[in-house]
């Protein structure tokens, strides 16, 4: 079963948001669905003001391609430049090494908590 850290908030489109650091990434469930990720590209830059639901990155695996949306609105203060060179980290460490961007001023209170997200993932498996 997927790993779902309890300190994070989750979006229906399978991104996580860390209210403590403002970092954003994709969930363990999402990386498992995509399988082996071979390419990723962040499509926003530091200083951009972004809206919740806006595409911030695209990810390609051997058999699938997916856009990653920002789960919150705010200003991009950092992007993980190293991730494009090691997209496999999204599979191996989705909540650590594989954060995508860091957002200032994001409010994740409308998102799911870990328990709700786990339930949401389970429902989709059927």
């Amino acid at each position: 079963m997927s790993n779902t850290p309890s300190n994070l908030q989750y979006a229906k489109s399978d991104e996580w948001f860390d209210p403590a650091t403002g970092k954003v990434g994709i969930s363990d469930y999402a990386q498992g669905q995509l399988s082996d990720i071979v390419f990723m590209e962040i499509t926003v830059g530091v200083g951009d003001d972004i809206e919740a639901g806006q595409a911030i990155a695209s990810v390609e695996s051997v058999k699938a391609a997916s856009d990653v949306m920002s789960p919150v609105s705010g200003k991009v203060v950092a992007i993980n430049e190293d991730l494009a060179n090691a997209p496999e980290n999204i599979n191996s460490d989705p909540y650590g090494e594989a954060w995508f961007i860091q957002i200032e001023g994001g409010d994740g209170s409308g998102m799911m908590d870990a328990a709700a997200y786990e339930k949401y993932c389970e429902e989709r498996a059927h």
Binding site: V38, F39, E41, T43, S58, E60, S61, V62, K63, A64, A65, D67
Partner: protein, 450 residues
Amino acid sequence: MTYIPTSPKERDAMLETVGVKSLDALFEAVPAKYRFPKLNLPPALTEMEAASLLSELASSNENVRGDLVSFLGAGMYNHYVPSVVNHIISRGEFYTAYTPYQPEISQGTLQGIFEYQSLMTALTGMELSNASHYDGATAAAEAVNLAFAVFRGKRRKVVVSPTVHPQYRETIRTYTQGMDLAVAGDEADSDLQASPEVLLPLIDQDTALVIVQYPDFFGRVFDYTRLIEAAHAEGALVCVVANPTALALFKTPGAMGADIVVGEGQPLGLPMWYGGPSLGFFTTRKQYVHKMAGRLVGETVDSRGQKSYVLTLTAREQHIKREKATSNICTNQGLLALASAVYLSTIGKTGLQQVANLCYQKAHYAAAELSKIEGVGLCFSQPFFHEFAVCFPKPVSEINEHLLEHGILGGYDLGQDYPALEDHMLVAVTEMNSKEEIDLFVEVVKEVLS
């Protein structure tokens, strides 16, 4: 006649298994009022009759292997194709296979494409090649798509040299009409004598791509290194549309710093076939691989540890990315890419150099002889490969009519596309043209002008 192997008895048994009474009963979902239209087509021919009909059609053309001597090029060239090429691509294992989606039983196609990719990178001096586009014109248009994707649509200008093939420029305009993109640089009053650097003032921070041709449409060979450096200084990419035969002799666009090299692959072992199907080659640098359209074959190993090949990075393509894909390309020119690989392998390094040298020598002989005629001159002074522009004191159409009476297919009338080049003919000479043919061409021109 048809190719349906089912006997009436088998048909009836099958209908019974399906549970319907007749073939017609299979089509009840089709609205009755439109069902089973009567098609007004000629009655079926037997194979013997079809062979004779097609022979008749084919022989009512005048071809350039017997009927006519050709000095016509302008994007498609009369080259010799060694017999081996057609023998290999006529193997049913190659030509009746589908796109290699099942690599375990498609290694022949996959390794063939992998070798084609390798040969094209060697020829262009680039880092990688895709499995092909439809032709040179659409490959050039796909270069625009690549550049547009690299800049995520933020740069909205493409600068195209007026000396890029007119039909390629038209195709680029067709492809980009929904992209809110400006195509500039090839206005009707462009200075065609100028060096490539004439484009520099147009290249700015809004320019996604600069497209030049090598040799250009008039056959001229320019070193684009300075232009490419200047374009890079503005952050723009540069695409060189190259003639692959010329690349046997001349500095590669890769060595000049080009970001994308595309072109028409027909000179590499393909017939002219009245314009197609031919082959568009597309090569670029590694950093752009994810934005490149088209299929791509990569090396890997199978479950038994054997070196093998698969279609790779397929998630870029339309069947997965759908409306977000860079291009919608699906079927490309697989078999003809294989033909080019066989051609390049068979004639090899020495053969391709010989072909290119023969083209160069004979074209220069023809140019020298033509320019001896009073009133005839070469339009340009720059080095050229196997095609050159000549100006005449009479309309090209008149000269061509006369040439045709002598069994000669004259050159391309440049006045059709360039108002400034009225009475100018683009003459192409390849290894297929003998000295006698060139001399005859020159003689007839003399006669017309006297």
